[in-house]
Symmetry: C2
Subunit: 145 residues, 2 copies
DNA sequence: GTTTATGCAAATTCTTTGCAATACT
DNA sequence: AGTATTGCAAAGAATTTGCATAAAC
């Protein structure tokens, strides 16, 4: 997955911040919050980061996960790794948030079926599934103490 | 479901604000945000409302649903309507949020099974399932225009 | 050259904290 | 009487907006 090609494909100008942020998402392989990015890109203005995240959301490069504390995390949309372009896609996979280290990951294997029998007259656009608990790493650390 | 009995049962003092807020939750039969309460209880200080919500959360009278915009909503925990007291309970039922009118409801019939095969070494405490879309009422209004 | 993005300051919104006055048991 | 709760002011955190400068196309 090439950073510059991806940005061009969705019609965003190639700026240093956008290239850096997209690289971070690709390398991270997990969800990142605004403050994660701010920390990693210390010389970048926080407002620019907010705007970068907005433009990525708008172009469907990333999706937003709000954890149970109300903190927003963002993760790459997997469909951009493939050549085909699914335009209206539901993010109906699960997410796991560790309440200790706050690490947030997509669980691609866990997909929720929309309950079409319920909510008969409503239209569903988006699904958010967040599992909160303690990650394996933090359990290990707890057991050591 | 009696307001005063319920408050006593969980060990909270009977104050005007608590009685009013609990009544609103019972009558509303849907999730309410802090600003919903502020609007309905105009003569009550907003800080008191924050603290009321905290105490209700702590006593498991209500649960918190963070909608995809990051706005917190709160809804009654159903187990308090019965006499038996489940102390550690997962809120693994779904929630529906209308992106237009922001109405938020529990969908009690829609329960998510925790995927025990995934996340083998992690511990899951809480599940949040939020479906976002357009509610039947807002669809009707759209069609009229 | 035209359009879009950035950086800074400032405004807004949401939430928490400290403390004296008040209400509950 | 003793303890918990309230209301107000103020602090803090998260996010948005306006605008001049700078960078991308």
């Amino acid at each position: 997955m090439n950073v510059e090609e991806t940005l061009k494909k969705v019609g965003l100008r190639l700026t240093d911040t956008r290239k850096a942020v997209l690289s971070l998402f690709i390398d991270a392989n997990k969800a990142l919050s605004h403050s994660d990015l701010e920390e990693k890109l210390a010389d970048c203005d926080k407002v620019t980061l907010y705007r970068t995240l907005s433009s990525f959301l708008e172009k469907d490069l990333i999706h937003k996960i709000v954890n149970p504390d109300g903190v927003a995390f963002f993760a790459l949309c997997k469909h951009h790794e493939h050549t085909h372009h699914a335009h209206t896609h539901l993010h109906n996979h699960g997410h796991f948030v560790c309440k200790i280290c706050k690490e947030t990951r997509c669980i691609e294997d866990f997909e929720i079926e929309i309950p079409t029998n319920l909510l008969l007259n409503s239209q569903i656009d988006e699904i958010s599934v967040v599992l909160q608990g303690t990650c394996s790493n933090c359990i290990k650390i707890q057991n050591r103490v």
